[in-house]
Symmetry: C2
Subunit: 209 residues, 2 copies
DNA sequence: TCTTTTCTGTAACGACCGCTAGGGAAATGC
DNA sequence: GCATTTCCCTAGCGGTCGTTACAGAAAAGA
């Protein structure tokens, strides 16, 4: 029996036959984002999810596939809604240094924002995970971020904005390490001001221009 | 019925009455260290533990109490066997700067040492943990490390070794963030050389003397 | 109205979780 | 030899995990 499989909110594809679903898929997804963000993939059970999403298990499975597919959608939603500040900084700031400075500054605020879980979902939600593909998917996202940092730094070197002998990969790794450490400390209770101080100190590694 | 409760290897307290245990408690504990270190508290099941320790579940419970007590003993064993390099550096190096430099350099090696799990058990093994006391116990250890960094920096300020207006708490937090970020990246596949480059870059924040 | 389609709620599946009762087995002291 | 103490193994406890069968309810099309 073929199932409709993960019916995203059908816009005007026909006329929506049969009984319509009684919950808003987007707001349910947002609640799942918060739950996975706070407790991680494994520690968030399906019954936790059905409770915070306000739906029954069969509705969850009909709308999102299974727990792993829901998590993948959660990660994508998190990326566009909460995790896009790094990409924006890399694209909008005139130099790699300015981009990293903005990323660290904004991370201090994002990772301690009131009313939502602290730290970064991509960094924490799939650590110590018994499902290897889930752990690997977030690891790939983290490493992709390092590559994005590195590419931006390389562009500045090519443009003469940074010294030719600067180790782009190492500087990118350093920026990533500071971001990841700040996220960990946000989870451990650090305040926005404390993380901003860390960000400011960390920026002193960049060569004087 | 009162149980003997966690009989540590009885030295010469009497003559060891009854049937002696058939496994070596220390080597079994070491296997538990490696298992918890690699997969974390929740993701390491009791049956995982009994397998790698080579004993049955009742033997495990008789010798170590329960899973949580075993984990506490594992954390202590990890601290003395693998995690003591930070305390040594803080105690032995002549300045805070030298201590942090040594900590970062040694962390690059420790967190990527072949033949054992990468990264730091204290940083990773209790993230996304459904047992709040376990998560909290490692969080306290991490925050205690930050305080130790801060105290060492304050001592250098008091001795005139560092500027009087230097923000000891922020510098301590920065060092901790770099260490935690390096540990995360070690788990994500970074090599010792890559982490040593990060460590070297991170040391450039310290004021010129 | 009646059929068709799709969603919802109940209730349960098999698997694994941390943990332990209970009966022998192996050492001691006498 | 015997009784005592302690350990190990088998087997299973109650509970939760992710997932789904099934039947009834609610919409559309005829």
């Amino acid at each position: 029996m073929v199932r409709s499989e993960e019916t995203k909110p059908q816009f005007k594809t026909g006329k929506a036959r049969g009984r319509p679903r009684s919950f808003d898929r987007t707001t349910a997804l947002e609640q799942a984002v918060l739950a996975f963000w706070e407790h991680g993939y494994e520690a968030t059970s399906v019954s936790d999810l059905t409770r915070v999403m306000g739906i029954g298990a069969p509705s969850l499975y009909a709308a999102f596939g299974d727990k792993q597919a829901l998590f993948a959608e959660v990660v994508a939603e998190y990326g566009t809604r909460y995790g896009s500040f790094t990409g924006r900084a890399l694209a909008e700031e005139p130099t790699a240094r300015a981009a990293v400075a903005r990323i660290l500054r904004e991370a201090a605020a994002e990772y301690t924002a009131p009313g939502r879980p602290h730290g970064c979902l991509v960094i924490h939600a799939a650590t110590n995970c018994t499902t290897p593909e889930v752990e690997e998917s977030l690891r790939e996202r983290r490493n992709a971020n390092l590559v994005a940092f590195e590419r931006r730094i390389e562009a500045d070197i090519a443009a003469g904005e940074l010294p030719a002998d600067l180790d782009a990969a190492a500087f990118a790794r350093h920026a990533g390490a500071v971001v990841q450490g700040m996220s960990q400390q946000a989870r451990d209770g650090a305040s926005r001001q404390e993380l901003e101080a860390v960000a400011e100190i960390a920026m002193n590694i960049w060569p004087r221009t």
